[in-house]
Symmetry: C2
Subunit: 115 residues, 2 copies
């Protein structure tokens, strides 16, 4: 990897914060409190002083039924989460420890049910 290929952020987290109207059959991540959970994650990353780590909002990641969801790059690992405790576990195990939170992890074959 040459210098130009060095990542700008070593760890880039995208939390879906898409909002759909109440009652939409797919639901939406916002319905599960994704905005507040993203805010919490951003604040904790700052408090923990994690280097070269950014937490961003993203538009619909198209896995609505499994949400709130996030994807962490460059590793491309997805999580579904519900609570601050879930976020804490992702921070400690994945972002700090370099591991995976298997109980929250979404696998590529978890396709949302359609219709």
């Amino acid at each position: 990897m040459d210098t130009a290929e060095r990542p700008y952020f070593e760890t880039h987290v995208f939390c879906c914060t898409n909002v759909r109207p109440p009652g939409h059959k797919r639901g939406c991540c916002a319905e599960g409190g994704s905005e507040k959970l993203r805010d919490y994650m951003k604040a904790r990353v700052k408090e923990l002083g994690l280097p070269s780590t950014r937490v961003n909002s993203a538009g619909c990641l198209d896995r609505c039924e499994l949400g709130p969801v996030m994807v962490i790059y460059p590793e491309g690992i997805w999580y579904g989460y519900r609570t601050r405790d879930d976020i804490d576990e992702i921070l400690e195990t994945h972002l700090v420890g370099g591991g995976r939170v298997e109980r929250l992890r979404l696998t590529p074959d978890q396709i949302p049910p359609k219709g």
Copy 2:
């Protein structure tokens, strides 16, 4: 890479569409037309039938002065762009061809001027 590590999207593009108030000293990607350019890119990806490719909006990617900006994962390559022609070149050269658009590329050492 085991099956679980296979990416859900082979190519995941995040276009910053953050909006700041007019006159903000850092500017913002929305000021450069990022929403319309993202819409154009989404439409072209669909028309081209690019497999396992998703184009998303993102919140502020913190490189405002270089914007509109996008980052493409998992490769972690950043581009600054202004026009539909720029988007077309990124689509053809990077997403279809697997290359890099050197004239639009942002390198990790391009730090926005502060203050």
